[in-house]
Amino acid sequence: MLKELSELYKYRDLLTQLVVRDLKVRYKNSVLGFLWSLINPLVQVATITLVVKYIMRVEIPNYSAYLLVAYLPWMFFQMSLMDASQAVLKHHDMLKKVYFPREVLPLSMVIANLIHFLLAVAVFFVYLLVIGTPIVATWLLLPVLILIEFLLITGLAFFISCLNVFYEDIKYIVSVLLNILFYLTPVIYLSEMIYTKLPAATRNIFFSLYQLVPLNTIVIAFRKLLLPPYSVPPHVKTAFELKDLPFNYEFLAITGVISLVIAILGYAYFNARKWSFAEQI
């Protein structure tokens, strides 16, 4: 793997060029251009807020902020994995004609998505400051969170982009799984709601297992480290009791390790099969 990495390093300029191309091409012929990567999550968040708050009548103060802070990392995850299925396949002309380290294809795609994510996060911070959210020291952990999520996504993207060359059903499977995962991950609801629903006797075990799923902990971490603890002012009446649980840093560390392992396994798997892409396409 070290040999592969040093070869990849030699081709780092190609990686840069592919990322630049991705960013330039994506919104080339649209008037609003890059703004679309902001409009998309904002419209989603506004719609979900509307449904949850005013139609389903679930009273969570400041819900849209809690939703948005989880929706942005979710969107990074979703967009990347959707793109991953085509990341290798759509470059078949290059694969058949030129030698280059094949891994630049999924990598450049994830990095391009990362840049969109970072810009959205920057805008989100402006929003936090505007609504007067207190600045807290845990904001400094944001780069760590982003790195962990990047590793997780990269590892999965290696598997998906590689498998989809051989079995094109993968892209449909991925899109179905992402639909389910959106509801399983604590994006539109708080992880505490899961916790209170678990039977009291086995609550801690199941909630630990729940947090071993890397994406769950990543989304929980974004919410708890960037926003103040969820609390209900005494004069507001809510349908159910909900106490904010403290953030468990152990699970963040475990998630970091799991994500790193997924990234390494994904890269190893990709490397094992990358020279048969040209024969398959």
């Binding site: 191309r21 330039k24 091409v25 080339k28 002309d93 030129v98 030698y99 020279w275 024969e279």
Partner: protein
């Protein structure tokens, strides 16, 4: 004498999946019943190319010429056998790999150059030369979707020859383009020859083979059928290719 490229008993087998290739359903079906059809593109080829030599490879469609270039160019891994390449290889297998229609000529030059393994900072100094060689000064800031096919090809070739390889692989690309561009390409190849580069090229253009190649290999059904000076091999190949002698290969063509 130093060899640039040594191919030792190289075999290459492609797996052909009939019917619905690339779906889980077909995988399940084939797992239970059928095996893929195997296509032996190369059946044990030995070739050594000296440094500075220009080797032409001729042969009918399906004889394994392109597969062989692909193996030297590291696009395919051989099924068995050894390939030793000394120095930097550049392949003119297809011009303009990775060109994106929405990007301008300049943007595509950078992209294509880095695909071929050139560093961005090295590209910067070469931009003028590339644009000039491609004769695209007026259009270089326009997206290449507005280019004609010939313009795209000229741009691709101009970038590809900047790579400064030790071993240059050429596959048919010279067969396209108008005459003035073709002659430009050939003079570039002669320039490479004078610089002592090793060139391996695949062509159906027999007069070009006679003119450019110092040695020629005739591949037939994945094996070296004949090897020798360009004239002797091309002569034999021409006699073999007269109508009527094709029949024995008719089944193999597909």
């Amino acid at each position: 004498m130093e060899y640039s490229v040594e191919i030792q008993d190289v075999k290459k087998t492609f797996k052909l999946w009939h019917g619905q290739a690339g779906s889980l359903k077909s995988m399940m079906l084939t797992f239970c019943s059928r095996k893929p059809e195997e296509l032996q593109a190369l059946k044990g080829v030995n070739i050594s190319v000296r440094q500075g030599e220009t080797l032409a490879v001729i042969g009918k469609n399906g004889s394994g010429k392109s597969t062989m270039l692909g193996i030297i160019g590291r696009i395919y891994k051989p099924t068995s056998g050894n390939v030793i390449v000394r120095g930097r290889v550049s392949a003119l297998l297809e011009l303009g790999a990775g060109f994106h229609p929405e990007l301008t000529g300049i943007e595509n030059i950078y992209l294509n150059g880095t695909i071929l393994g050139i560093r961005t900072r090295d590209m910067k100094g070469k931009i003028d030369e590339i644009v000039q060689f491609a004769e695209l000064e007026k259009f270089i800031d326009a997206p290449i979707k507005t280019y004609s096919k010939g313009m795209v090809m000229r741009l691709g070739f101009s970038v590809a020859v900047q790579v400064d390889p030790d071993v240059l692989l050429v596959d048919e690309v010279l067969a396209v383009g108008d005459e003035s561009f073709q002659s430009k390409c050939y003079s570039k190849i002669e320039e490479f020859q004078k610089l002592g580069k090793t060139i391996i090229f695949v062509s159906h253009d027999l007069p070009a083979v006679r003119r450019v190649a110092s040695r020629t290999i005739w591949l037939d059904q994945g094996l070296v059928h004949m090897e020798g000076s360009a004239d002797s091999v091309v002569d034999a190949y021409t006699i073999d290719a007269v109508p009527g002698k094709e029949d024995k290969d008719a089944g193999e063509a597909n």
